[in-house]
């Protein structure tokens, strides 16, 4: 730990703790999940940087959406995202959450994930290599440092719009709104 880090730790301990303790929800949303086990195991060992998978969304603060999102999965993803405690960060993994990727004309996968839930960053590629996950994590660190990883704030702010988009593709959602006031906007 160099001196710069130490100063940062003293100035903003909470922020630094969020940076170095990214616990990811283990949710195999698509084929990107195949590169997660190498990342968290012996070859790349993401635990060096505090990134580990957890079993329940309540413990997590990082949501890696690994690959295409079908409609049935979208429902589960929104549930999971809403269960995570704030502050929480979400990263889209692979081309498919960005714009549908090679499933651009599939009737059952959604195309722009950021219209249904906030995304703090994307990792492009099909499949992105494990190194790309590390690059993404360092980018996320920078974003957290600069208070730019504010997806959860956006979710609160534009909740009415997000909820409307979710209901447009999924039909009526069976759970009550997370923010009953409908957000600020």
């Amino acid at each position: 730990m160099d001196r710069n880090q130490l100063v940062k730790w003293l100035q903003a301990p909470a922020k630094m703790a969020h940076k170095y303790s990214l616990h990811a929800v283990y949710f195999c949303t698509g084929c990107g999940i195949i590169e997660v086990p190498p990342t968290i195991t012996a070859r790349w060992d993401a635990e060096r940087f505090g990134v580990i998978p957890t079993a329940t969304p309540r413990h997590a603060n990082l949501f890696l959406i690994t690959g295409y999102v079908s409609l049935k999965t979208l429902r589960a993803i929104i549930r999971t995202y809403e269960q995570m405690p704030e502050p929480k960060f979400s990263v889209g993994f692979g081309s498919c959450p960005i714009n549908g990727g090679m499933y651009y004309d599939s009737y059952n996968t959604i195309k722009h994930l950021d219209r249904y839930m906030p995304i703090d960053g994307y990792i492009a590629g099909c499949m992105p290599r494990p190194e790309a996950i590390f690059v993404a994590v360092t980018h996320l660190w920078t974003l957290i440092d600069k208070d730019m990883a504010d997806g959860y704030k956006r979710y609160r702010r534009y909740y009415a719009q997000y909820r409307a988009n979710q209901e447009r593709v999924l039909g009526r959602l069976e759970w009550p709104p997370l923010f009953p006031a409908g957000g600020d906007a």
Binding site: A17, E47, F49, R58
Partner: protein, 296 residues
């Protein structure tokens, strides 16, 4: 001095417990051919949990978590750490055994309030496992109490330090081995981590705990590591005259636990209970029997 003990003892226990948590992750990482996180990683995690938004599921939920932590904290006060032991005069082993049950009870309360099916399964597994290790643990503790004719832990430690190893201490070796056999179950380590089993029931009782509550549960976990090991060192390995030696002894015991933990997959709960009721119970029973016979 005694007042100071009330502060130092829990802090020392906490420090040791959290160090053990970090050590677990580091040790596991090395057996798995990786570097692993820094030793202070549990501290970072706890800091994050504390600063995250926590969702409460009601008053009982809060109370349960606090109860389990408080129970463990009080137990720590009864356990000599080297010479530091704030509550040496009162209670002793029986109170410790009693209070050790508070921790799972508190978690059960909060899990019941959270109404997550995984938590409920975890709790029932936790109590089944407790049922498994309480029997040999009681026999072991009884053996120690009968041998030294006291229920005070401090006096047991003193008696062990005074006595020269002879034939009369042999039965306690059996009890000691029995204790080592149930140690992973007591600490909730791998072959017996049925209650949390992330792959089966999503962390069980902890499934609904988030933010602050999870941090408190982690602290409780650290303390329970301390309690399980220090009880062994005090009862079976003669304690220590200063905290450093005591810590080193604990480290050796914990390393043994980790070694077991790294080399076995998880048992099912009924298999775990069957195991606990077979060999450790048998050994502990024989130990107790011999202690009684030799005393006659």
């Amino acid at each position: 001095m005694r007042i100071l003990g009330f502060v130092i003892s829990p802090l020392a226990a906490l420090a040791v417990g959290i160090f053990f948590l970090g050590l677990t992750r580091r040790f596991m990482a090395r057996t798995q051919w990786r570097y692993g996180p820094p030793l202070y990683q549990p501290l970072i995690d706890m800091l994050r949990f504390f600063t995250q938004k926590s969702v409460s599921h009601g008053a009982i939920f809060d109370l349960g978590v606090i109860l389990s932590l408080a129970g463990s904290l009080v137990v720590v006060l009864f356990l000599p750490f080297g010479r530091i032991c704030p509550l040496q005069g009162s209670g002793g082993l029986l109170v410790v055994l009693y209070l050790m049950l508070l921790a799972p009870l508190g978690l059960a309360l909060s899990a019941g309030e959270a109404a997550n099916p995984n938590s409920s399964i975890g709790i029932s597994r936790m109590f089944a496992l407790a049922l498994g290790y309480e029997v040999p643990l009681l026999l072991i503790v009884l053996a120690a109490m009968t041998r030294y004719d006291t229920i005070s832990i401090v006096e047991i430690v003193a008696a062990q330090r005074a006595a020269v190893p002879n034939l009369a201490t042999f039965p306690l070796v059996l009890s000691g081995i029995a204790y080592l056999l149930i140690l992973p179950a007591l600490l909730g380590l791998r072959p017996f981590d049925v209650a949390q089993a992330p792959q089966e029931i999503s962390s069980g009782p902890l499934a609904e705990l988030g933010g602050r509550y999870l941090a408190l549960a982690q602290i409780q976990n650290a303390l329970s590591l301390f309690i399980g090991i220090s009880l062994f060192v005090n009862l079976m390995w003669g304690g220590a005259s200063n905290p450093l030696v005591f810590f080193l002894k604990m480290l050796v015991v914990f390393a043994f636990g980790l070694w077991i933990s790294a080399s076995f997959p998880r048992l099912r709960v009924e298999q775990a209970v069957r195991y606990l009721w077979r060999w450790p119970t048998l050994l502990a029973f024989v130990g107790l029997l011999l202690v009684v016979v030799i005393r006659r």
